[in-house]
């Protein structure tokens, strides 16, 4: 590789849409980024409610802890410590009703821990939070789900030895057949079971899983399991859905449909909060982005501005997050030396700040 090429590649300004610069995109036409863009283009027509939410949020100032016009979830002073380490320390955070809010940040930023705290899968050392006007702090995971805030998991939890349809039916809320005393008398719950099956098949059809309804969930592919988990969460009639890395380990073709589904949820009036690493996905579908680092919320705002916030990009996504690490030019000693120097300079700047 010639020196000229090296300079053009590394020195090229990053396109605003975040497509990795360089030649990789042309060579492989179906990267995650392209899939995401296609999804975004597809899902352009939004419902009136979604447009209203977007308009509302456009008037909100992009600073940490800013109040939202219609917050469904309000978090106050939530702290979770593991020994001497503070994993989560969120002073104030509000999540807008009916919007897609993305929670991003580097590994170990406390995103999933915050998720676990909010959904009752972990207990904080202190803090309060309200969902839909009611305090759900200290409630069990099941109680939080019953209150209408349902979650999925980073490592997909499909119930392997149950069929796809059984997975769905299991999520039906307030099913009388699930009460032990009546469960052995089928006629007491048959009608509700039929209604639930109809609803489940409808949702499965929407996620294109209806043909697989009698297959064991364990036989599905990783991406299909993500879809099933999302479909199963919908079965509980939630008002807010919490997705923990819905795009992790899913092939680009499926990412497109997953994102489409997430947007469809929002367009139906559901509130979505999701943790994600894929910046392209975040940029294209979220209405609001919350950035976490070292357990704190360090920035929030609409995706366009938060992403361009140089401090956020440098400190929390890495100064070279748009550099293709697979690029051979990085093997050039000169380039490496320059990168290292930049890195050092940045660390020093940060130290001085402290």
């Amino acid at each position: 590789m010639s020196a000229d090429e090296t300079t053009t590649v590394t020195g090229a300004p990053t396109p605003a849409d975040g497509t990795p610069s360089g030649t990789t995109v042309q060579e492989t036409p179906t990267t995650a980024a392209e899939a995401v863009e296609a999804a975004a283009a597809q899902a352009a027509p939004e419902s009136a409610e979604a447009k209203q939410v977007a308009r509302d949020l456009s008037f909100v100032e992009g600073r940490v802890g800013v109040p939202k016009p219609d917050a469904i979830l309000t978090v106050d002073g939530v702290q979770r410590r593991f020994g001497g380490m503070t994993a989560v320390d969120v002073d104030h955070l509000e999540v807008q009703r009916g919007a897609i809010t993305a929670l991003i940040g580097p590994n170990g930023a406390g995103k999933t821990t915050l998720f676990n705290l909010l959904t009752g899968f972990d207990q904080p050392n202190q803090g309060q939070w309200q969902f839909d006007g009611r305090s759900i702090a200290g409630k069990s995971g099941a109680a939080v789900a019953r209150a209408g805030m349902v979650r999925t998991f980073q490592l997909t939890k499909a119930l392997n030895r149950l069929t796809v349809l059984q997975n769905m039916l299991l999520a039906q809320p307030k099913h009388p057949g699930e009460r032990f005393w009546l469960s052995w008398l089928p006629f007491t719950w048959a009608a509700q079971e039929r209604a639930a099956t109809e609803k489940a098949l409808e949702i499965l059809a929407r996620f294109k899983l209806d043909t697989k309804k009698d297959d064991f969930a364990g036989s599905l592919s990783g991406g299909q399991r993500k879809l099933l988990e999302m479909a199963r969460a919908l079965m509980t009639d939630p008002t807010m859905i919490m997705l923990d890395e819905p795009m992790a380990g899913v092939n680009p073709a499926l990412v497109q449909s997953l994102l489409g589904h997430v947007q469809a949820l929002r367009d139906e009036g559901m509130t979505v909060l999701f943790v994600e690493h894929d910046m392209h996905a975040v940029r294209h579908i979220s209405d609001w982005v919350v950035v976490m680092a070292e357990g704190r919320v360090v920035a929030e705002g609409p995706p366009e501005t938060v992403m361009q916030d140089q401090a956020v990009v440098d400190a929390y996504l890495g100064a070279h997050h748009d550099t293709d690490l697979g690029d051979d030019s990085l093997l050039d000693p000169a380039v490496l030396a320059r990168l290292e120097a930049e890195d050092k300079g940045q660390t020093e700047r940060e130290e001085r700040k402290r």
């Binding site: 119930l159 030895r161 149950l162 039916l169 057949g177």
Partner: protein, 328 residues
């Protein structure tokens, strides 16, 4: 030839023996724990012994048969609640540790002199002291009946009445478990077996479901204990760890999470076990002696259990398709 027929008859007798029914019923209870809910109950013998004591002591105190049965069920229920409430919120392994030690505690309390007045200590309760109410219920005429090569008295300790009652109870339990496990309630149990966090995230009270499963399986275990002591005396030492592991072998042989697995497993296990021991006694008795045959038999059961878990964990009736992706 006559020797051979005798051995075969003995193995055949095991197929319908009351103790086979008792193990089948205990395994049905354990199936509800392990097969459907994924609870590792390593103390099913403790439930059985408590049931036997409950039934025996209540009868001796003058309770009628059905009341004594209810006392047995209540004893199992209370035991399940005691074990379940502190452990079911923890990871599955804790239940295993607690149940295995609690079952041993029950056995040691039973054989200790402290409660000798009620339990009879290490020598236990004699059969004649608690069986009269059961025998009085028999509607069979006096005398003996032979069915094929099997001949027993109609009513008595080792009788047709005992067999009829025991297998009748097993059938009822099968019907009950079948209805339960095909219901949405059973679906929640299976979900918990697969991943309890996922079920929790869907708004189900996982703890309550696990406790219900533990109680019902434990109550079935207590009833099995009653069946087990109907043809014999209540001796705590015959209902210890070995019994628990026999129940596990029966369940895994037949196939966990299958309806008929426990019954098939129990019949197959005990007739083969009898065939093996009588066969070895006839063939090898002169070489290694009678007591060694028993010990060798016990060892072979252990080896069978290991081979079963390694090469056919789904048991005889288990579904291969389900097992294909049983990796976590």
């Amino acid at each position: 030839m006559e020797e051979f027929l005798r051995i075969l008859t003995q193995a055949l007798a095991e197929l319908v023996a009351p103790s086979t029914a008792a193990y089948a019923l205990a395994a049905i209870g354990l199936n509800l724990h392990f097969g459907y809910t994924g609870l590792l109950n390593m103390g099913q013998a403790g439930f059985m012994l408590l049931g036997a004591y409950g039934f025996g002591i209540a009868t001796i105190a003058g309770a009628p048969f059905l009341v004594a049965l209810l006392v047995a069920i209540a004893a199992g229920t209370v035991f399940a609640l005691l074990l379940g409430i502190p452990t079911l919120k923890l990871r599955g392994d804790y239940l295993a540790i607690v149940t295995i030690s609690a079952a041993e505690i029950i056995r040691w309390l039973g054989r200790s002199t402290v409660f000798q007045e009620w339990t009879g200590g290490a020598s236990g309760l004699l059969g004649n002291s608690f069986k009269h109410t059961f025998h009085e219920l028999s509607f069979l005429p006096d005398g003996r009946t032979a069915v094929g090569p099997l001949e027993y008295i109609n009513t008595g300790s080792d009788s047709w009445w005992t067999r009829l009652f025991a297998w009748g109870l097993v059938l009822l339990a099968l019907l009950f478990v079948w209805l339960l496990t095909r219901s949405p309630w059973g679906r929640v149990l299976k979900g918990i077996r697969e991943d309890e966090d996922a079920v929790r995230a869907l708004g189900k009270n996982v703890f309550a479901y696990k406790l219900q499963a533990l109680v019902i399986g434990g109550a079935l275990g207590s009833l099995a204990g009653v069946l087990y002591v109907l043809p014999r005396a209540i001796t705590p030492d015959s209902m210890g760890r070995t019994m628990t592991f026999f129940v596990w072998t029966v369940l895994l042989l037949g196939g966990a999470a299958t309806l008929f697995g426990p019954v098939l497993g129990s019949m197959l296990f005990f007739s083969l076990y009898m065939l093996m021991r009588t066969g070895m006694r006839a063939g090898l008795g002169d070489v290694i002696g009678g007591t060694q045959v028993e010990q060798l038999g016990g060892m072979l059961v252990g080896v069978t259990l290991m081979l079963l878990v390694i090469f056919r964990p789904q048991g005889i009736l288990g579904n291969k398709r389900e097992l294909a992706f049983n990796v976590r």
